[in-house]
Subunit: 479 residues, 2 copies
């Protein structure tokens, strides 16, 4: 097959176009503040610019790259803008992007240890590194009974935790029968919606997921949990799983993990701790009190792709006892059998999550930790918390506004006292202006604005400007 | 916060290090044939070279990059080597890697249309492009009742298809109860193991997944399927889902989709077609007869990350009726509400799969289709099939060997007539030599070697050399 007919990009072309793409990204990040943070296009506006059918003949790479500016950028909501304060962040960094690029370049698929030992071993190693970095219990170490794995998202981790809990409670796999309708799982009314999704997917049913009431700080009430478990047991049901959250999505509430853990031990329930957003804070010893009780967790996850400068997707999930997890997710057809697996001396991560295939995601995490060092990561976490706390102070001191929840870390929930309509108006105007992007929630039935400081490049001036713009829009309300 | 204390990589540093990484990848691909295809390290060998604890201080990027050669490469099984003939391929290409790099650089999270309209609309658009490219039915188009979405793997697609089937059969979400133990799903004894995993995850239970027997070509026997469905109905069970495979993993067997579809229509079962590997062949009209009957499928998936030059992960999943899928996977908490979603004029892909967050994966697929054009993609598919068929001819003509299954496309299953031990020995020696990598399966109880031609850069000389090396090892058997 002569090369001139191969259609492939040669290594030399890759080098040339690759440099152009790297430059495009560097330029994009240099000018990112010039774009409206929230994309201002209308539904369907991107699609109408695209050809109706796929091209018959290949196109030049520079034509494709040009279309990034012309066709794609108008439809981008700039998650990497320092003026992005919406949802939870999905931050990234140079070393993460380059680690991920190497993962794409190597193109290995790490379903088994043998299909690239470095893919498996680096992942195990970096997840072991993180255990002391975050003050997590030793039982999560691969050298103990547990171990860590990278999942795509906390949604998938929650599902896997629930499946492992079902396995332990009912010996599910060996029984080979479906769920029997007796299994009950517990979360709070503020727990992330992915728990509800997980209960539905796993066939446990939403009616068997109990949403426990919360206290004034939107944290789960342990006494309500205990009561519900006891009632369910009396009704002949099988309580098996509790999800406690370190930093809820709506208001960054901190469930009292230690008290919940005590109840779980008493009733032999699986305790999963979802620290998707706020787990990163535990890099700093002064914030670790928020995860008191995590030493009793059966599983735990946090997302470096939210607040630890590692581009999506990268959710780190640990279990204290890997047996239940592997038992419920392991299937070994003949075509995947191999000597290393048979010896039992290796980890095959395909048995630790839903997908079979897997990307070399630990590279980007390794790059981030090495580039920043623990010191650099701590520095930025502290700085984000400082900026959010400062913002909270401005809110507190402005009589037009009120804080809507305590702000333990980098999320501030606040509202204008004039009511839902005023807050909706402020938010819509700010987001339409493109100057910044923030989102809302409802707390105690009231529309509440959320400002989360967690984007990689957010500095004091961006938060100052956000507050200035908020006050400006508040000032226009009377008109 | 002064820049000198920021720890971040500046855009200028990113540019410089980014070029170095691109060059590293170009060099890697230029020298890829110099590495043993299958990594030759022992369990634990990569980990022992890594520091026990994470670094306190950040490190220089060039030190990190140097470790790719020193610490990582020995532990890589080179999936992108043209001498990789194992499993199914996980091929990649220059345009895919660069499209993915742009996705990392933009760092958007496309859970909702509004969180980056281009991420959603380009995905919908490219999946619409693929419908006629692959000769799939119009009902899969987003402009019809259906639509397509990118999932991580075919495992996740199978799970989602099963969940949608459960929804349609039992009105699962509205009932809010768990699975009732009456749902039955069907696959063949040769269907991918992910179906078994999906049945377990969904709480249907392995005992309610019927593995239908296969014919001499390892394809599902429709009459056995019909019989089993009737028996299950008589037993008061609720048959709801069938998975037919276009190209099984073990031997590339083609289930008779049209006949299976007729049975599904008769009994009102959801038909999912898993074309993870062989779906790409349908780019070429002359191979489309293998998917006859796909026009009756309720859902379908294929993996551009296997054979269509798009790096992992990229599984394309279509449904004919998006309502059941969305209904069973949709949960809308307040903090995700937004105007665009409320109007119903947009797709929010978070409702189409398990994870909430999502990467801008359509970029790499768009880049691949535009770079190669339909013509270029067809060229390489045909060439891979031609090379595999030629290899099959060599096997057929060599009296020491036999074909173990028909080879409809680019996978050849074959064995040395001297029995399992001989085949194991040949395979182990070849893989230990590092010259090429192939894997095995069992067909009719006999150990069978599999050679799959699908790596991006595999050319005639690589297949010729593979056969030469196989014959060489066969020649040593008598000694």
């Amino acid at each position: 097959m002569p090369d001139e007919k191969s259609f492939h990009m040669t290594p030399e072309e890759f080098r040339c176009y690759g440099h152009a793409v790297v430059d495009w990204i560097a330029d994009y990040h240099s000018r990112i503040e010039s774009f409206p943070v929230l994309s201002q296009v209308k539904p369907g506006q991107i699609r109408v610019s695209l050809p109706k059918v796929a091209p018959e003949k290949g196109e030049r790479f520079d034509a494709i790259l040009n279309d990034m500016d012309k066709l794609i950028l108008p439809g981008i909501t700039h998650w990497q803008s320092p003026n992005f304060f919406a949802y939870f962040p999905c931050n990234a960094s140079g070393p993460a992007i380059l680690g991920d690029l190497l993962s794409s370049g190597l193109g290995v698929q790490g379903m088994l240890w043998s299909t690239s030992p470095a893919c498996t071993e680096l992942e195990t190693h970096v997840l072991d590194w993180l255990v002391p970095m975050l003050g997590l219990p030793d039982k999560f170490l691969s050298s103990s009974t547990g171990g860590g794995v990278i999942q795509d998202t906390a949604s998938s981790s929650s599902l896997c935790a629930l499946l492992a809990a079902r396995e332990r409670a009912t010996n599910y796999t060996s029984n080979q029968t479906g769920s029997d309708g007796r299994i009950v799982a517990y979360a709070s009314t503020q727990t992330h919606s992915s728990l509800e999704k997980a209960a539905m997917v796993a066939g446990i049913g939403v009616s068997n997921l109990r949403l426990i009431e919360v206290d004034g700080n939107f944290a789960m009430r342990p006494e309500a949990l205990a009561k519900q478990i006891e009632a369910d047991k009396r009704a002949g049901l099988l309580p098996c799983f509790v999800c406690a959250t370190m930093g809820t999505t709506s208001s960054n509430a901190m469930d009292p993990i230690a008290e919940i853990a005590r109840i779980c031990r008493q009733h032999n329930l699986w305790l999963h701790v979802d620290a998707a957003m706020s787990g990163t804070a535990a890099l700093c010893p002064e914030f670790r009190h928020l995860q008191n009780g995590v030493e009793f967790a059966d599983s735990y996850c946090f997302n470096p792709h939210k607040w630890m400068f590692t581009n999506f997707d990268c959710d780190c999930f640990w279990v204290a006892d890997r047996k239940a997890l592997i038992k419920t997710l392991s299937i070994l057809p003949e075509y995947l059998r191999n000597q290393a697996t048979e010896t039992g001396a290796v980890i095959d991560y395909r048995d630790w999550h839903i997908p079979l295939g897997r990307r070399f995601r630990s590279l980007k995490l390794w790059f981030v930790i090495r580039h920043y060092g623990i010191e650099g990561l701590q520095h930025h976490v502290r700085e984000h918390v400082r900026l959010a706390q400062q913002f909270g102070d401005w809110v507190r001191k402005d009589e037009r506004f009120e804080l809507a929840a305590s702000a333990p870390l980098n999320l501030v929930c606040f509202r204008h006292k004039a009511g839902d309509e005023a807050n909706q108006k402020i938010m819509d105007r700010l987001n339409r202006s493109g100057d910044l992007f923030l989102t809302h929630t409802k707390l105690n039935g009231k529309l509440t604005l959320r400002l989360c400081v967690g984007q990689t490049n957010t500095q004091e001036r961006h938060v100052v400007n956000a507050w200035r713009r908020i006050c400006e829009e508040a000032g226009k309300l009377s008109h």
